[in-house]
Protein backbone atom coordinates (compact mmCIF):
# COMPACT_ATOMS: atom_id res chain seq x y z
CA UNK A 1 0.00 0.00 0.00
CA UNK A 2 2.88 2.34 0.73
CA UNK A 3 4.07 2.16 -2.86
CA UNK A 4 0.99 4.04 -3.94
CA UNK A 5 1.51 6.79 -1.40
CA UNK A 6 1.32 10.23 -2.86
CA UNK A 7 4.15 12.63 -2.14
CA UNK A 8 2.03 15.56 -0.98
CA UNK A 9 -0.16 15.93 2.08
CA UNK A 10 -2.68 18.66 2.81
CA UNK A 11 -2.96 19.17 6.55
CA UNK A 12 -6.01 20.70 8.21
CA UNK A 13 -6.10 21.27 11.96
CA UNK A 14 -9.75 21.46 13.00
CA UNK A 15 -11.73 22.30 16.07
CA UNK A 16 -15.51 22.21 15.74
CA UNK A 17 -15.47 22.56 11.96
CA UNK A 18 -18.08 19.91 11.26
CA UNK A 19 -20.07 22.37 9.19
CA UNK A 20 -17.22 23.60 7.00
CA UNK A 21 -15.06 20.57 6.35
CA UNK A 22 -17.02 19.05 3.49
CA UNK A 23 -16.70 22.19 1.41
CA UNK A 24 -13.07 22.76 2.36
CA UNK A 25 -12.10 19.19 1.47
CA UNK A 26 -13.96 19.19 -1.82
CA UNK A 27 -12.19 22.44 -2.67
CA UNK A 28 -8.85 20.74 -2.00
CA UNK A 29 -9.77 17.77 -4.16
CA UNK A 30 -10.49 20.11 -7.04
CA UNK A 31 -7.31 22.16 -6.81
CA UNK A 32 -4.93 19.52 -5.59
CA UNK A 33 -6.11 16.04 -6.58
CA UNK A 34 -2.59 14.68 -6.32
CA UNK A 35 -2.49 15.13 -2.55
CA UNK A 36 -3.65 13.11 0.42
CA UNK A 37 -5.70 14.98 2.97
CA UNK A 38 -5.31 14.74 6.75
CA UNK A 39 -7.60 16.38 9.28
CA UNK A 40 -6.45 16.68 12.86
CA UNK A 41 -9.51 16.65 15.06
CA UNK A 42 -8.34 18.72 18.00
CA UNK A 43 -10.78 17.50 20.62
CA UNK A 44 -13.82 18.79 18.75
CA UNK A 45 -17.17 18.61 20.45
CA UNK A 46 -19.16 18.33 17.24
CA UNK A 47 -19.11 15.98 14.25
CA UNK A 48 -15.77 17.21 12.87
CA UNK A 49 -14.32 13.71 12.79
CA UNK A 50 -17.32 12.16 11.02
CA UNK A 51 -17.57 15.00 8.54
CA UNK A 52 -13.90 14.59 7.63
CA UNK A 53 -14.15 10.83 7.18
CA UNK A 54 -17.30 11.23 5.12
CA UNK A 55 -15.51 13.66 2.85
CA UNK A 56 -12.80 11.08 2.34
CA UNK A 57 -9.99 12.52 4.42
CA UNK A 58 -7.72 10.74 6.87
CA UNK A 59 -8.35 11.76 10.46
CA UNK A 60 -6.31 11.80 13.62
CA UNK A 61 -8.36 12.36 16.76
CA UNK A 62 -6.70 14.06 19.70
CA UNK A 63 -8.03 13.14 23.14
CA UNK A 64 -8.55 16.75 24.09
CA UNK A 65 -7.91 20.19 22.72
CA UNK A 66 -4.20 20.90 22.52
CA UNK A 67 -4.48 24.06 20.47
CA UNK A 68 -3.83 25.03 16.87
CA UNK A 69 -0.02 24.74 16.89
CA UNK A 70 0.09 21.39 18.68
CA UNK A 71 -2.61 19.97 16.40
CA UNK A 72 -0.66 21.15 13.36
CA UNK A 73 2.49 19.60 14.75
CA UNK A 74 0.73 16.27 15.15
CA UNK A 75 0.16 16.42 11.40
CA UNK A 76 3.79 17.34 10.78
CA UNK A 77 4.97 14.33 12.76
CA UNK A 78 2.58 12.10 10.85
CA UNK A 79 3.76 13.44 7.51
CA UNK A 80 7.40 13.03 8.46
CA UNK A 81 6.84 9.49 9.64
CA UNK A 82 4.98 8.57 6.47
CA UNK A 83 7.66 10.07 4.27
CA UNK A 84 5.69 12.78 2.52
CA UNK A 85 7.91 15.06 0.43
CA UNK A 86 5.67 18.12 0.54
CA UNK A 87 3.08 19.42 2.92
CA UNK A 88 0.45 22.12 2.61
CA UNK A 89 -1.22 23.46 5.70
CA UNK A 90 -4.52 25.27 5.63
CA UNK A 91 -7.34 26.18 7.98
CA UNK A 92 -10.52 24.16 8.22
CA UNK A 93 -12.92 27.06 8.43
CA UNK A 94 -12.81 28.18 4.82
CA UNK A 95 -10.64 31.20 5.47
CA UNK A 96 -7.96 29.93 3.11
CA UNK A 97 -8.99 29.76 -0.54
CA UNK A 98 -8.09 26.33 -1.92
CA UNK A 99 -7.68 27.77 -5.40
CA UNK A 100 -4.20 28.88 -4.37
CA UNK A 101 -2.89 25.49 -3.30
CA UNK A 102 -0.95 24.98 -6.52
CA UNK A 103 0.46 28.51 -6.32
CA UNK A 104 1.88 27.65 -2.91
CA UNK A 105 3.05 24.18 -3.84
CA UNK A 106 4.78 25.08 -7.07
CA UNK A 107 7.79 27.05 -5.77
CA UNK A 108 8.45 24.38 -3.15
CA UNK A 109 8.18 21.49 -5.61
CA UNK A 110 10.38 23.25 -8.13
CA UNK A 111 13.04 23.71 -5.47
CA UNK A 112 12.84 27.49 -5.61
CA UNK A 113 12.10 27.72 -1.91
CA UNK A 114 11.80 25.59 1.21
CA UNK A 115 8.76 27.34 2.60
CA UNK A 116 6.05 29.22 0.75
CA UNK A 117 3.75 31.49 2.77
CA UNK A 118 0.42 32.64 1.48
CA UNK A 119 0.11 36.34 2.17
CA UNK A 120 -3.30 37.89 2.45
CA UNK A 121 -1.86 41.40 2.21
CA UNK A 122 -0.90 41.24 -1.41
CA UNK A 123 -2.04 41.61 -4.97
CA UNK A 124 -4.71 38.94 -4.61
CA UNK A 125 -6.36 40.47 -1.57
CA UNK A 126 -9.15 41.99 -3.62
CA UNK A 127 -10.37 38.56 -4.56
CA UNK A 128 -10.90 37.65 -0.92
CA UNK A 129 -13.41 38.87 1.58
CA UNK A 130 -10.98 39.02 4.49
CA UNK A 131 -11.28 42.02 6.73
CA UNK A 132 -9.43 42.66 9.94
CA UNK A 133 -10.09 45.31 12.54
CA UNK A 134 -7.73 48.25 12.85
CA UNK A 135 -5.93 46.96 15.94
CA UNK A 136 -5.37 43.53 14.48
CA UNK A 137 -4.26 44.85 11.10
CA UNK A 138 -1.82 47.25 12.72
CA UNK A 139 -0.47 44.53 14.95
CA UNK A 140 0.00 42.23 11.98
CA UNK A 141 1.74 44.96 10.02
CA UNK A 142 4.11 45.60 12.91
CA UNK A 143 5.06 41.96 13.27
CA UNK A 144 5.46 41.63 9.52
CA UNK A 145 7.75 44.65 9.60
CA UNK A 146 9.83 43.26 12.47
CA UNK A 147 10.13 39.94 10.66
CA UNK A 148 11.08 41.66 7.41
CA UNK A 149 13.90 43.51 9.12
CA UNK A 150 15.22 40.46 10.92
CA UNK A 151 15.23 38.13 7.94
CA UNK A 152 16.25 40.85 5.52
CA UNK A 153 13.42 40.01 3.18
CA UNK A 154 10.07 41.65 2.68
CA UNK A 155 7.32 39.78 4.50
CA UNK A 156 3.80 41.15 4.41
CA UNK A 157 2.01 38.43 6.36
CA UNK A 158 3.94 36.90 9.23
CA UNK A 159 0.97 35.16 10.79
CA UNK A 160 -0.39 33.23 7.85
CA UNK A 161 -1.32 29.63 8.50
CA UNK A 162 -1.54 28.99 4.76
CA UNK A 163 1.82 27.47 3.90
CA UNK A 164 3.61 24.91 1.77
CA UNK A 165 6.86 23.25 2.80
CA UNK A 166 9.30 20.51 1.91
CA UNK A 167 10.44 17.67 4.13
CA UNK A 168 13.46 19.59 5.42
CA UNK A 169 11.19 22.20 6.95
CA UNK A 170 8.86 19.41 8.12
CA UNK A 171 11.70 18.03 10.20
CA UNK A 172 12.18 21.37 11.94
CA UNK A 173 8.46 21.86 12.47
CA UNK A 174 8.16 18.39 14.02
CA UNK A 175 10.77 19.13 16.64
CA UNK A 176 10.46 20.73 20.07
CA UNK A 177 11.74 24.06 18.85
CA UNK A 178 8.50 24.69 16.96
CA UNK A 179 6.51 27.13 19.12
CA UNK A 180 3.12 25.47 19.43
CA UNK A 181 1.43 28.33 21.22
CA UNK A 182 1.82 30.91 18.47
CA UNK A 183 3.58 29.55 15.41
CA UNK A 184 4.03 32.90 13.75
CA UNK A 185 6.78 35.39 13.16
CA UNK A 186 9.39 33.74 15.34
CA UNK A 187 9.17 30.50 13.34
CA UNK A 188 10.07 32.40 10.18
CA UNK A 189 12.97 34.09 11.89
CA UNK A 190 14.13 30.75 13.26
CA UNK A 191 13.95 29.13 9.84
CA UNK A 192 15.87 31.97 8.29
CA UNK A 193 18.63 31.68 10.88
CA UNK A 194 18.94 28.01 10.04
CA UNK A 195 19.45 28.83 6.40
CA UNK A 196 16.05 27.95 4.95
CA UNK A 197 14.54 29.89 2.06
CA UNK A 198 11.19 31.55 2.49
CA UNK A 199 9.00 32.92 -0.26
CA UNK A 200 5.71 34.76 -0.07
CA UNK A 201 2.91 33.90 -2.48
CA UNK A 202 -0.12 36.17 -2.88
CA UNK A 203 -3.37 34.47 -1.88
CA UNK A 204 -6.93 35.44 -1.10
CA UNK A 205 -8.44 34.83 2.30
CA UNK A 206 -12.06 34.99 3.31
CA UNK A 207 -13.98 36.27 6.25
CA UNK A 208 -14.99 32.97 7.77
CA UNK A 209 -14.07 31.65 11.14
CA UNK A 210 -16.20 33.22 13.79
CA UNK A 211 -14.36 30.33 15.40
CA UNK A 212 -11.55 31.71 17.53
CA UNK A 213 -9.45 28.58 17.21
CA UNK A 214 -7.21 29.59 14.37
CA UNK A 215 -6.97 33.19 15.38
CA UNK A 216 -5.22 32.17 18.57
CA UNK A 217 -5.51 35.44 20.44
CA UNK A 218 -3.46 37.29 17.89
CA UNK A 219 -2.53 40.79 18.83
CA UNK A 220 -3.76 40.42 22.38
CA UNK A 221 -1.47 41.81 25.03
CA UNK A 222 -0.04 38.40 25.90
CA UNK A 223 0.56 37.61 22.22
CA UNK A 224 2.62 40.77 21.79
CA UNK A 225 4.63 40.03 24.94
CA UNK A 226 5.23 36.44 23.99
CA UNK A 227 6.23 37.15 20.39
CA UNK A 228 8.65 39.89 21.39
CA UNK A 229 10.19 37.73 24.09
CA UNK A 230 10.48 34.76 21.71
CA UNK A 231 12.04 36.82 18.96
CA UNK A 232 14.51 38.37 21.41
CA UNK A 233 15.45 35.09 23.04
CA UNK A 234 15.73 33.30 19.70
CA UNK A 235 18.47 35.69 18.67
CA UNK A 236 20.46 34.45 21.67
CA UNK A 237 19.96 30.78 21.00
CA UNK A 238 22.37 28.45 19.26
CA UNK A 239 21.25 26.89 16.00
CA UNK A 240 20.38 23.24 16.62
CA UNK A 241 22.59 21.74 13.94
CA UNK A 242 21.31 18.24 14.59
CA UNK A 243 18.00 19.19 12.95
CA UNK A 244 19.75 20.14 9.70
CA UNK A 245 20.37 16.71 8.24
Amino acid sequence: MDKNRKDTLVLIPAFNEGKNLREVISGIRQSCPEADILVINDGSLDNTSEAAIKAGAEVINLSFKLGYGAALQTGFKYALHKGYKYLLQMDGDGQHDSAYLQNLLHPVKSGETDLAIGSRFSSEREKGTYKAGFMKRTGMKIFAAITSVLIRQKITDATSGYQAMNSKVLKIYSSDIYPVDFPDADVLIMLHRMGFRIQEVPVAMHQNGSNQYMHRGMVSFYYVFKMLLSIFVDSLRKIPKELLS
Partner: protein
Protein backbone atom coordinates in the same frame (compact mmCIF):
# COMPACT_ATOMS: atom_id res chain seq x y z
CA UNK B 1 15.69 53.72 51.97
CA UNK B 2 19.32 53.06 52.85
CA UNK B 3 21.56 52.95 49.82
CA UNK B 4 22.85 49.48 50.52
CA UNK B 5 19.34 48.09 50.72
CA UNK B 6 18.38 49.84 47.52
CA UNK B 7 21.39 48.56 45.62
CA UNK B 8 20.83 45.04 46.86
CA UNK B 9 17.17 45.07 45.83
CA UNK B 10 18.09 46.37 42.39
CA UNK B 11 20.81 43.77 42.04
CA UNK B 12 18.51 40.91 43.01
CA UNK B 13 15.73 41.98 40.67
CA UNK B 14 18.17 42.38 37.76
CA UNK B 15 19.65 38.97 38.51
CA UNK B 16 16.15 37.46 38.58
CA UNK B 17 15.34 39.13 35.25
CA UNK B 18 18.45 37.71 33.64
CA UNK B 19 17.86 34.28 35.15
CA UNK B 20 14.33 34.08 33.77
CA UNK B 21 15.43 35.16 30.30
CA UNK B 22 18.25 32.65 30.36
CA UNK B 23 15.87 29.85 31.39
CA UNK B 24 13.54 30.75 28.53
CA UNK B 25 16.48 30.87 26.14
CA UNK B 26 17.50 27.38 27.18
CA UNK B 27 13.93 26.20 26.71
CA UNK B 28 13.74 25.16 30.35
CA UNK B 29 10.98 27.65 30.99
CA UNK B 30 8.07 28.26 28.67
CA UNK B 31 7.14 31.84 27.88
CA UNK B 32 3.66 31.36 29.32
CA UNK B 33 5.15 30.78 32.79
CA UNK B 34 7.80 33.41 32.48
CA UNK B 35 5.61 36.50 32.29
CA UNK B 36 4.59 36.64 35.95
CA UNK B 37 8.20 36.19 37.03
CA UNK B 38 9.35 38.91 34.64
CA UNK B 39 6.59 41.22 35.85
CA UNK B 40 7.56 40.57 39.47
CA UNK B 41 11.22 41.30 38.81
CA UNK B 42 10.35 44.46 36.88
CA UNK B 43 8.04 45.79 39.57
CA UNK B 44 10.58 45.18 42.32
CA UNK B 45 13.19 46.86 40.13
CA UNK B 46 11.02 49.93 39.59
CA UNK B 47 10.05 50.22 43.22
CA UNK B 48 13.63 49.85 44.39
CA UNK B 49 15.11 52.30 41.88
CA UNK B 50 12.45 54.98 41.90
CA UNK B 51 12.33 56.29 45.45
CA UNK B 52 9.34 58.60 45.07
CA UNK B 53 7.23 55.84 43.60
CA UNK B 54 8.18 53.59 46.50
CA UNK B 55 7.23 56.21 49.08
CA UNK B 56 3.94 56.86 47.33
CA UNK B 57 3.00 53.20 47.15
CA UNK B 58 4.10 52.66 50.76
CA UNK B 59 1.73 55.33 52.05
CA UNK B 60 -0.97 54.17 49.64
CA UNK B 61 -1.01 50.63 50.98
CA UNK B 62 -0.51 51.90 54.52
CA UNK B 63 2.83 50.19 55.15
CA UNK B 64 5.20 51.42 57.85
CA UNK B 65 8.49 51.12 56.00
CA UNK B 66 9.44 51.22 52.31
CA UNK B 67 11.07 47.83 52.65
CA UNK B 68 7.75 46.42 53.78
CA UNK B 69 6.33 47.46 50.44
CA UNK B 70 8.98 45.46 48.59
CA UNK B 71 8.34 42.40 50.73
CA UNK B 72 4.61 42.77 50.37
CA UNK B 73 4.69 42.90 46.60
CA UNK B 74 7.11 39.99 46.41
CA UNK B 75 4.74 37.91 48.50
CA UNK B 76 1.66 38.88 46.52
CA UNK B 77 3.39 37.90 43.30
CA UNK B 78 4.61 34.64 44.76
CA UNK B 79 1.00 33.86 45.63
CA UNK B 80 -0.11 34.64 42.09
CA UNK B 81 2.64 32.50 40.61
CA UNK B 82 1.71 29.63 42.93
CA UNK B 83 -1.94 29.97 41.92
CA UNK B 84 -0.95 29.87 38.24
CA UNK B 85 0.91 26.65 38.88
CA UNK B 86 -1.96 25.13 40.84
CA UNK B 87 -4.38 25.84 38.01
CA UNK B 88 -2.02 24.39 35.45
CA UNK B 89 -1.30 21.32 37.59
CA UNK B 90 -5.01 20.69 37.99
CA UNK B 91 -5.41 20.81 34.23
CA UNK B 92 -2.42 18.55 33.66
CA UNK B 93 -3.68 16.03 36.22
CA UNK B 94 -6.92 15.74 34.36
CA UNK B 95 -5.20 15.41 31.02
CA UNK B 96 -2.85 12.72 32.29
CA UNK B 97 -5.76 10.78 33.68
CA UNK B 98 -7.46 10.86 30.29
CA UNK B 99 -4.28 9.86 28.47
CA UNK B 100 -3.51 6.95 30.76
CA UNK B 101 -7.04 5.65 30.44
CA UNK B 102 -6.89 5.92 26.65
CA UNK B 103 -3.52 4.23 26.68
CA UNK B 104 -4.90 1.32 28.64
CA UNK B 105 -7.93 1.02 26.39
CA UNK B 106 -5.76 1.17 23.26
CA UNK B 107 -3.46 -1.55 24.61
CA UNK B 108 -6.49 -3.73 25.25
CA UNK B 109 -7.74 -3.10 21.75
CA UNK B 110 -4.36 -4.00 20.26
CA UNK B 111 -4.25 -7.20 22.30
CA UNK B 112 -7.70 -8.12 21.04
CA UNK B 113 -6.72 -7.35 17.44
CA UNK B 114 -3.53 -9.37 17.72
CA UNK B 115 -5.48 -12.41 18.85
CA UNK B 116 -7.23 -12.43 15.52
CA UNK B 117 -4.22 -11.91 13.27
CA UNK B 118 -4.35 -14.60 10.57
CA UNK B 119 -1.38 -16.93 10.38
CA UNK B 120 -0.55 -16.44 14.01
CA UNK B 121 0.67 -19.54 15.80
CA UNK B 122 -2.41 -21.67 16.53
CA UNK B 123 -1.18 -22.56 19.98
CA UNK B 124 -0.96 -18.94 20.97
CA UNK B 125 -4.53 -18.15 20.02
CA UNK B 126 -6.87 -18.20 22.92
CA UNK B 127 -9.95 -18.65 20.77
Amino acid sequence: MPLRQKLFAIFISLALLMLIIELVRRRKLREEYSWLWLLTALIILFLASWHHLLIYVTSFIGAGLPTSTLFFFSLVFLFLIAIQFSIRISQLTNQIKTLVQENGLLHKRIDELEENVPGKDEAEQIK
